[in-house]
């Protein structure tokens, strides 16, 4: 027995030591402000998220050339959550507690955001989330720089219903089966019904992630579309599945003049992998297009292509969201005079930063921002031609007016200090 306990002592010392050295391995470096970048660099989401990591590195490099923030240099901390949702939470925790970052820019999918949310709340840090999403959320620690449904989906449908858009009367809502398409389609369905569209004129279809055989569904869409009324497809199909979907559309000879497809998740980067000659005229609704000609945008594109050392590198909407989010954060830190999380969170609402298409976006009390809304048609060169633009900037709604559960809710972190204030009961939650 003595023998065992001696070993036990030795072994447990080793075990403890291992755990300790893991904790101590990340030494604090001196006089920099750390910024965490939480985007997948491997796995299925790398395809979308890697460019966001690069754009953040570029922005930080540029800011450092200007002298950094508060007289300190910024230091980017890159982690790879590998498209693995529990790993997202683990890495977020590591960024905040070990690396002591002042803010984190990251996530793409809703589930990754949901996975890190408890961590940000618990450890009280800041997350800038750059992707269009389903809304129904307003958290103190998260700033949503992508579009809420009312900044993307509803204007797109309005456009298609207008004379300019083709007086569409019949709708296919096709999406990948996860929360963003589910919510968007639910909002759209409620909205369309309220506009007098008959229930049988709406077809909703969900497919799994990475769906690659679209023959049946595309032929169903064509069948649905030849019932005598003008038909359009609203696509919330996610990432990987889009290329085979568009290839099948082209195969079936579905032209934009017959059945236009308006997509909310297809941007310049996704189109880079498709031959767009057969897709000319299909639409996308975004808050930014690379083809918009403004000095700010042209400078940004030039800088991006130089940074990537690739004259063909394209820019897209979530990248712009990071540009806006980063500039807002820098301004807020400078205004607050500190990187203290609570102070920066309190300072951020009201901060304005120019967007790349010529307006000035503003952070709202519900932690969403005002954005321009544009509808673009696919051009043969894989870019978009803006065919419609909302007047002025549209404020992002955290809670949709068209859903029963949330129509009375608002997010207000300035006065009410809560994310789900009920205007009817006057209470939070």
């Amino acid at each position: 027995m003595f023998k065992l306990s001696r070993r036990a002592l030795l072994a447990s010392t080793i075990a403890g030591g291992l755990a300790l050295s893991a904790g101590g391995a990340f030494a604090q470096s001196g006089d920099t402000i750390k910024v965490g970048i939480l985007h997948s660099l491997s796995g299925t989401m790398a395809i979308s998220e890697t460019t966001l990591k690069d754009v953040m590195l570029m922005l930080i490099e540029e800011q450092n050339k200007k002298g950094g923030v508060l007289g300190k240099k910024l230091e980017a901390v890159v982690v790879d959550p590998a498209s693995n949702w529990p790993l997202f939470a683990e890495k977020a925790r590591e960024l905040i507690t070990q690396q002591k970052v002042s803010a984190v820019f990251g996530c793409w999918t809703s589930v990754s955001r949901k996975s890190v949310l408890p961590v940000f709340k618990e450890l009280n840090s800041i997350l800038f989330y750059p992707v269009q999403y389903e809304g129904e959320e307003s958290e103190r620690n998260v700033f949503y720089t992508g579009a809420a449904p009312n900044q993307q989906a509803i204007p797109a449908v309005d456009y298609l219903m207008s004379e300019e858009g083709g007086l569409v009367k019949r709708w296919v809502l096709a999406g990948t089966d996860y929360v963003y398409p589910r919510t968007t389609n639910k909002i759209l369905e409620a909205y369309l019904l309220s506009k007098g569209v008959a229930k049988e004129d709406i077809l909703i279809n969900y497919t799994p992630f990475g769906h690659s055989d679209w023959q049946t569904i595309v032929s169903d869409i064509v069948k649905f579309g030849t019932a005598g009324k003008k038909t359009a497809v609203v696509s919330t199909i996610n990432g990987d599945a889009n290329v085979p979907f568009y290839k099948e559309l082209a195969n079936k000879g579905v032209k934009a003049t017959d059945i236009p497809v308006v997509a909310f998740s297809v941007g310049e980067e996704e189109l880079a992998g498709v031959d767009t000659k057969n897709l000319v005229g299909h639409l996308a609704a975004w808050n930014y297009f690379e083809s918009v000609k403004t000095p700010a945008n042209e400078a940004f594109i030039k800088q991006w292509q130089a940074f990537k050392k690739n004259p063909k590198a394209v820019t897209n909407d979530p990248m712009e969201a990071h540009v806006i989010g980063f500039n807002m954060w820098v301004k807020a830190v400078e205004k607050a005079g500190t990187t203290n999380v609570d102070k920066v969170i309190d300072t951020l609402p009201g901060i304005e930063a120019p967007n790349l298409t010529g307006g000035v976006s503003k952070m709202l009390p519900n932690h969403h921002i005002t954005k321009p809304v544009m509808i673009g048609e696919i051009r043969p060169d894989g870019q978009f031609d803006v065919v419609w633009q909302a007047k002025g900037l549209v404020a992002g709604d955290a809670w949709s007016k068209y859903l029963d559960g949330s129509k009375d809710l608002i997010g207000d972190w300035v006065e009410k200090k809560c994310g789900n204030y009920n205007t009817k009961t006057g209470k939070c939650g």
């Binding site: 660099l41 491997s42 299925t44 790398a46 395809i47 890697t50 460019t51 004379e163 300019e164 858009g165 083709g166 089966d177 969900y206 497919t207 799994p208 990475g210 769906h211 690659s212 055989d213 023959q215 049946t216 569904i217 032929s219 169903d220 064509v222 069948k223 030849t226 019932a227 005598g228 990987d240 290329v243 085979p244 290839k247 099948e248 082209a250 195969n251 079936k252 000879g253 934009a256 003049t257 017959d258 236009p260 980067e269 996704e270 880079a272 992998g273 498709v274 031959d275 057969n278 005229g281 639409l283 048609e377 043969p380 031609d385 065919v387």
Partner: protein
């Protein structure tokens, strides 16, 4: 072509002026001026006015507009022809150079539709039957009553039966939209009923609900019922076709694995990455063609086949010599090592080519679709099936009818015996693995046509591939063939009933249950090789 147009156009469009394009100022010229406003509304008026003007320059200008070649520079409206030469749209004369500040006239879907309609009226008398057919289809969709007189003329002058049929159908569609009398309406319904496709069904549906005349109504309803019945039958055939097409994709993905896994017994998790390498080889080949031989671009896919085969086979040899040869007889360890290989290959491609999709273009002969007794068949899908069967036949031939194939089978069945007979087992191992990998690479060429060319490509096929091989019976090529098509067709028949996800789940559950019934797949290998 242009010279034959004016006289008919005069009749067809009731043109006011016939001046053979020599006008200095007229409705056509006025219409052109509207383009400089750069507004969709003005452009639309311009299109209508141009089509109605009857000017000779209208047709080429509108065609240029449709193709995105019409530009405005100040007051000059011009278009580029195939040789990159600029032509003034107003005078039809060639410009000295391309104006520097030219801006392409922008279009949206509404304008594209307006253009299609306008061109439909203008090209009814084109010399090219294909163009006339297009015009008929455009009129069928637009149902533009103004085109009726021209259409009648065109029908009487039409020599090609297929085009004539389309023209008559277009006329029927227009008539049914606003019928003058019962007889006319009934005639139109008959024509559309014969056409019998989705479009006709749509028109008849509208007629059945909107027209007042009860006789017409019941005729329309009967026609709708008849067409719907036919469509129902067709959809069964269509599902079989879709199933074959999906099956061919499954077979393509699995066929290389049926060599490395089925024949050699290596649980090759890097198989998907070989397919991916093939797809990237296609991308590279196409890039080469774009850079050095754009004229031969349609041959790029054919050229990519050997490139993909050699690339994947070469990587296969490296893997076999470097790793797998140490693991023969320990199939489960091959799972571990090849999983590592697959991670490395994926990340290498990601580092080299970036994580985003790469564009692989479909050559002309693979795009579009054709109609076979009401069945719409995409050329791309058809060629993939043909290609898959060709690859299968090649593989079968190689394994069953060549000395190399004989040796491969000998070595995999009994290594020691084969070695005693003087077969160089090490060489045969390498060759077999290279063959399996190379075939996977070739599959990548075809899959690049329908799926993402991204580092994740292989991952999306690996599980399905294993299912196909196991379902068919490990080590049996014919089993793989039957199983791929069975799974494909099964899936496509379940999909309309259960939806895409449940269909797939149902297939997986069936597979699990099937394996209980036949623990070694559809076509089990007989003999002692299996049970040891």
């Amino acid at each position: 072509m242009l010279r034959s147009v004016p006289i008919f156009r005069l009749l067809a469009l009731a043109a006011i002026v016939l001046n053979c394009g020599l006008a200095i100022a007229g409705p056509y010229e006025d219409a052109l001026k509207r383009f400089s406003a750069d507004s969709f509304g003005e452009t639309e008026i311009a299109i209508k006015d141009m089509a109605a003007s009857g000017a000779q320059g209208a047709l080429p200008a509108l065609e240029a507009l449709q193709a995105g070649r019409l530009s405005v520079a100040g007051d000059t409206v011009f278009y580029l022809d195939g040789n990159g030469q600029a032509t003034d749209a107003a005078t039809g004369s060639r410009l000295a150079g391309i104006p520097a500040d030219g801006k392409v006239v922008r279009l949206n879907n509404r304008l594209r539709r307006a253009l299609e309609n306008a061109l439909g009226g203008l090209t009814l008398f084109s010399k090219d039957p294909a163009r006339r057919l297009q015009a008929a289809e455009a009129l069928f969709k637009s149902k533009d009553t103004n085109a009726l007189p021209g259409l009648e003329k065109a029908i009487s002058a039409e020599p090609v039966p297929a085009v004539k049929k389309a023209l008559v159908e277009a006329e029927a569609a227009i008539m049914l939209a606003r019928p003058a009398n019962t007889a006319e309406a009934l005639g139109a319904i008959r024509t559309l009923r014969e056409r019998g496709d989705q479009e006709a069904l749509a028109q008849l549906n509208v007629a059945a609900t909107s027209l007042a005349d009860p006789a017409v109504r019941s005729a329309a309803e009967a026609a709708v019922a008849a067409i719907a019945q036919r469509q129902k039958l067709l959809s069964v055939v269509q599902n079989v076709w879709y199933g074959l097409s999906l099956g061919s994709v499954l077979l393509l993905a699995a066929i290389g694995l049926s060599i490395t896994f089925g024949v050699m017994g290596i649980i090759n998790m890097a198989h998907g990455e070989m397919v991916m390498l093939g797809a990237y080889a296609t991308f590279l080949t196409q890039e080469m063609f774009r850079a050095y031989a754009p004229g031969w671009f349609d041959w790029s896919l054919a050229a990519a086949i050997p490139v993909a085969f050699l690339l994947a086979a070469a990587v296969g040899v490296v893997i076999e010599r470097g790793i797998i040869r140490f693991l023969y007889g320990r199939p489960l360890e091959t799972l571990l090592a090849t999983f590592g290989v697959s991670l490395i290959l994926q990340q290498s491609i990601r580092t080299l080519f970036g994580p985003t999709n790469r564009e692989v273009t479909a050559p002309a002969f693979m795009s579009g679709n054709f109609d076979l007794f009401g069945l719409s068949i995409a050329y791309g899908r058809m060629w993939i099936i043909v290609f898959t069967l060709a690859v299968f036949a090649f593989l079968l031939f190689l394994l069953k009818a060549t000395p190399l194939g004989l040796r491969m089978r000998a070595v995999t069945q009994n290594r020691r015996m084969a070695a005693s007979m003087g077969i160089r087992t090490a060489f045969v191992d390498s060759a077999t693995f290279a063959l399996g990998s190379g075939i996977a690479g070739v599959a990548g060429v075809a899959l690049s046509q329908i799926d993402n060319v991204s580092p994740n490509l292989g991952q999306s096929y690996i599980i399905d591939s294993f299912m196909v091989v196991v379902f068919g019976g490990v080590g049996n090529l014919w089993g793989t063939l039957v199983s791929a098509f069975a799974l494909g067709i099964g899936n496509k028949f379940l999909e309309p009933v259960a939806g895409a996800v449940l269909a797939k789940i149902a297939i997986l559950v069936c597979l699990i249950l099937f394996i209980q019934k036949r623990p070694s797949g559809l076509f089990a290998l007989k003999g002692r090789a299996v049970e040891q």
